[in-house]
Symmetry: C2
Subunit: 372 residues, 2 copies
Amino acid sequence: MALTYELIKKDKHTNARVGVIHTAHGDIPTPIFMPVGTLGTVKTMTPEDLEEIGAKIILGNTYHLYLKPGMDIMKKAGGLHKFMNWDKPILTDSGGFQVFSLSDNRKITEEGVTFRSHIDGSKHLFTPEKSISIQNDIHSDIMMSFDECVDARADYNYVENSMKRTLRWAKRGLDYHKENSHPDQSLFGIVQGGMFKDLREISARETTAMDFDGYSIGGLSVGETKEEMIDILNFTTPFLPENKPRYNMGVGTPDYLFESFQAGIDMADCVLPTRIARNGTALTSHGRLVVKNAGFKEDFTPLDHECDCYTCRNYSRAYIRHLMNVNEILGARLLTYHNLYFLLKLCENIRQAIMEDRFLEYKEEFYSKYGY
Amino acid sequence: MALTYELIKKDKHTNARVGVIHTAHGDIPTPIFMPVGTLGTVKTMTPEDLEEIGAKIILGNTYHLYLKPGMDIMKKAGGLHKFMNWDKPILTDSGGFQVFSLSDNRKITEEGVTFRSHIDGSKHLFTPEKSISIQNDIHSDIMMSFDECVDARADYNYVENSMKRTLRWAKRGLDYHKENSHPDQSLFGIVQGGMFKDLREISARETTAMDFDGYSIGGLSVGETKEEMIDILNFTTPFLPENKPRYNMGVGTPDYLFESFQAGIDMADCVLPTRIARNGTALTSHGRLVVKNAGFKEDFTPLDHECDCYTCRNYSRAYIRHLMNVNEILGARLLTYHNLYFLLKLCENIRQAIMEDRFLEYKEEFYSKYGY
């Protein structure tokens, strides 16, 4: 059975809301941050680590998994859940974002996108149908429609044409989905339209007119200012139906999460917390901490004094700084663990705040400490 | 209080023996393999992982820790146990082996060894006293005397002079130890003498005449054949007192462990299981498995069918091969976990076999499956 969304509580003062997404692989409390596991692993982490930090759903990347390990192996493994030993929900993107990022090595037609692999230069074609077919093989719980994510600075004509093609692709993907997906898989439509509100409105109205299981807002966090992001988000979200989950793609800093959830978004993802972890930076309740800096070499306090995660309960900044300084894998592992815990705990706190109608107070309190 | 060794059982048919080393940080059942944690971490593993796989004692490397994080930080951290959050026993080498490996960048005098750091070329002097002093700062449970480890092909005169200097250094280190070490730290003497039995005998007699808490056999696994190693080991070990632990340094393949334990050795260490793990190779009951090879890409069986470790219970060769193929840290982590578990389980099985006077049967059984 496809997912269902249960609305539990609306904030009295904002559009923020608490809910639960029910899936075949378990329930997802919302609003939620989703750790990214590009290649069938959230980098450095085991599934048990992910459960420990409170992850309820993770992402896989269709483009990357399609190239490696490839769908032959994925099918024989019985899908990504079994391949990577994760039995909670998995969401996959459509591959569109990665394919369009290969700017010099792809060609868009009505049929789809022809591109060359970043690994070996081999030629491939992704169509709306092919994208769903790959996501069928991955057997993700939540799939995305194949769309074009345009740059925030693209001109009106380009965005209009692209958005309309994305609508046609959405319909093709949905038709393919209805015929071919496993009954427990759900498909989201994606609203595009760049920075142009009239195009956003058309995209939102037409996408929601199709019967998707949830809706994503695409084309944000792609070069626009934070104010533009918030503006488009608050303009677009009200067009999305209340009885289905809403997903803002590619968002992972605390302020973008707050703003997204405040606008009524339920789900967000980003590689940021895991990527900056591997570069030696921690998210803390007092802002980012570049723990690999020499200034922390004799600091025997935890990464975040207010954090009760495994890393903060057991290791000092000095030790983690040492590990990063000598390129020890454990450093990346401890920081990844902490950063994901930090964001998932933040989501838990936000859910709690919404339940108590004090979302804005909590946001203000968090911002003043974090230094926004 | 320094360590004590308790002999529990001697094998009826070989010199193998089962015992327990009692230390301030806990008991170590012997014979035992000791994972190497060069820079204050057994690469990829947390202390909890190490406990899970049955590690009872780990190594730190004096030379590496002296350079990074350095002894200022080590002292302020309160020693390596606290710095890395490991509360079981730690053994440190003397730094001698690493310093002598810097063949073009070190100079030996009676006083000690002057060398240049492999990191920044800075000049340092290690003396027998300095080596103990660093190990005092690390606060390891078991320290090693500063010695020269000569190449297996060194000539008689060189080895004789070196061995005699090592004896003088042993005495100096022991004197320094008695005055300066923490009462819960123990110091081992190291028998040298290369491939020359008369020199091994002199070294063994004179080293054991000094009152060390245990004895290491150095200068093996440095270029000699396996037969030479076994020959020297069986010649030397009988000179070591029965009431103290015996340590064969730098040994970590299953056959070298069997041969060492058969000769009456209690402790061994090697980077091999962790290093080959990071290169994509597993130790299994049927020999080494280069799991990163393409041949395993559709093999959904565990690394080792007979292994019940976390990795083998949860992941396939195909998944681990994929992780190694795309340079995912989790691959190195899962393989490291398995390889160390494999060797520690092997030691447990060997202890059990000795208790039941069937060490040789177990050895033969293991060898026939492993393919030796």
